[in-house]
């Protein structure tokens, strides 16, 4: 799904700049960027992206996993984590938070694209099965 609108939640300005260019070169649109969990929630409400690309260590006191749970709970959007954390504990927490994908830093273009496309596809399937179950009820 090219042209998907993506919200970048990342507190490292240089990484944000690189991500913007990488996503554009992969055919996606950057809906907005945020560096804290609160900014991310406001940006989701305001810009209604198709997917959120979320770092785990964010500026502020609330981390990306907590922000992802709030985004999943309130806006039902797919969240893909983009993080340098590769330890089992963080990955388990990310999975428990309903992650649609997990990309490790430093990212590669093909790896990023594969994770985003898989997440968008999974999300689409989730919506369709939810619609089908609503119709059946």
């Amino acid at each position: 799904m090219t042209n998907a609108r993506i919200l970048i939640v990342e507190d490292e300005a240089i990484t944000v700049s690189a991500l913007k260019r990488e996503l554009a070169s992969l055919g996606y649109q950057v809906a907005a960027t945020a560096s804290t969990a609160d900014e991310a929630l406001n940006a989701v409400e305001l810009h209604k992206p198709d997917l959120v690309l979320m770092d785990i260590t964010l500026a502020g006191t609330v981390n990306g996993i907590v922000a992802a749970v709030a985004i999943r709970g309130n806006f039902h959007l797919p969240v893909v984590f983009l993080t340098a954390h590769a330890d089992d504990g963080t990955m388990e927490r990310a999975v428990a938070a309903g992650a649609f994908g997990y990309v490790l830093k430093p990212f590669s273009g093909p790896g990023l694209k594969a994770a985003i496309e898989t997440a968008l596809h999974k999300y689409q399937t989730e919506i369709e099965s939810r619609r089908a179950s609503t119709r059946a009820a």
């Binding site: 609330v62 981390n63 490790l104």
Partner: protein, 368 residues
């Protein structure tokens, strides 16, 4: 729409793990019991110890001449482990007093009237020393555990920062490359990013395994080859990648260098081996033995006639030759009889490289 104030602690998962071996499994109930006892409050531990002293004293009285003095150590241990030295000493003195009461009630005959008091005092002293030693051990254990946890958290933070910094360097290279108009110049920056990516993945594997000895270099080689083929296959070419990597043990320094060598060889094959070809095969092999060997083979155009690695080496090949020398290896670059180029890196096995560290470095040889 937001209904709840968020905090990071809401999603903390405690990393409690039990061992998986049969021996560790059989010890699990004991671990759980000790864990429960360890969580007991100071007051509860002291009260339970007093009750235990009373029970043992009653048994001591009922059994008559049989000495149960040793059993008083149970409440002493419980109190000193859970409630500290003061409670331990208190239970120790109480135990000695209980023993004395029981002994007096049984009217044992002694050579001197003060002897039972002397014995009780000795018992109190022994219990007190045990209490003191145990509570000190517990305090040291708690301090050590706290130190280990702090170190583990610090190490995790260092790993995280290393990876984050590699991401920033990679991002900077990407942003710099954007200013360039020449595709060949941009490719140089992309190659640097690939090298950073390769090192980062190895670093990640090192951190995930937790042990230098558990470094899975074959897995790293496979992942790196797949990534490079995904991102650098020439347009219009269908490439088949075949990775045959034996579980060869490689130390960290060699793994980093060997990873970078593989990175250069694969990039070289992808850049020069297949341009304009509709299809091709790329093979990566890693085999152990007296001398380990890593081979990167393609069935592309092969080396140009009269190619001399020492004279015609570009930056990539120059790095390969230098890094091969660094790991005390030997590089063999040749045309494959079946067509294409084959580069083999021979390098010492882990055992022989340990013994060779003190020996002078051999000069590398090249077969072109």
């Amino acid at each position: 729409m937001r209904t709840k104030q968020l905090s990071n602690s809401d999603f903390f998962i405690s990393p409690v793990r039990f061992g998986s071996s049969a021996w560790e499994q059989s010890l699990a109930p004991i671990h759980r019991t000790l864990e429960l006892l360890g969580r007991m409050s100071h007051t509860a531990a002291t009260i339970l110890s007093v009750v235990l002293v009373a029970v043992i004293a009653w048994f001591d009285y009922v059994t008559g001449d049989f000495s149960l003095a040793l059993f008083y150590l149970v409440p002493v241990v419980l109190a000193s482990w859970n409630a500290g030295p003061v409670s331990g000493w208190f239970i120790g003195v109480l135990s000695a007093a209980a023993w004395l009461v029981g002994d007096s009630a049984l009217s044992h005959a002694y050579g001197h009237p003060l002897m039972p008091y002397w014995n009780a005092a000795m018992l109190a002293l022994i219990y007190g020393i045990v209490a003191h030693l145990l509570s000190t051990l517990r305090r040291l254990q708690a301090e050590l555990q706290e130190r280990v946890e702090r170190r583990t958290a610090w190490l995790a933070e260092v790993h995280h920062r290393v990876k984050n910094n590699l991401q920033i360097i990679s991002s900077l290279l990407m942003l710099q490359a954007e200013k360039l108009s020449n595709a060949a110049d941009k490719a140089v920056f992309d190659e640097c990013r690939d090298r950073i990516y390769s090192m980062a993945r190895l670093h990640e594997q090192l951190y995930s395994s937790g042990e230098f000895s558990d470094l899975d270099f074959p897995a790293h080689l496979r992942e790196m080859a797949e990534m490079l083929v995904r991102s650098h296959t020439p347009q219009g070419c269908t490439l088949v990648l075949d990775v045959r990597a034996d579980p060869v043990a490689v130390d960290l320094d060699t793994a980093v260098t060997l990873g970078l060598i593989a990175n250069e060889l694969l990039l070289n094959a992808l850049k020069h081996g297949f341009s304009g070809c509709p299809a091709g095969n790329l093979t990566v092999e890693l085999h152990g033995g007296n001398r380990n060997q890593m081979t990167v083979r393609d069935d592309g155009y092969g080396l140009p006639p009269g190619f001399d690695a020492r004279k015609n080496a570009g930056l990539g090949l120059e790095l390969v030759l230098g890094m091969t020398r660094q790991i005390r290896g030997e590089a063999k670059i040749e045309n494959d009889p079946a067509g294409g180029t084959r580069t083999t890196i021979f390098f010492p096995s882990l055992l022989s490289s340990e013994t060779a560290k003190t020996e002078p470095q051999p000069k590398p040889t090249y077969h072109d």
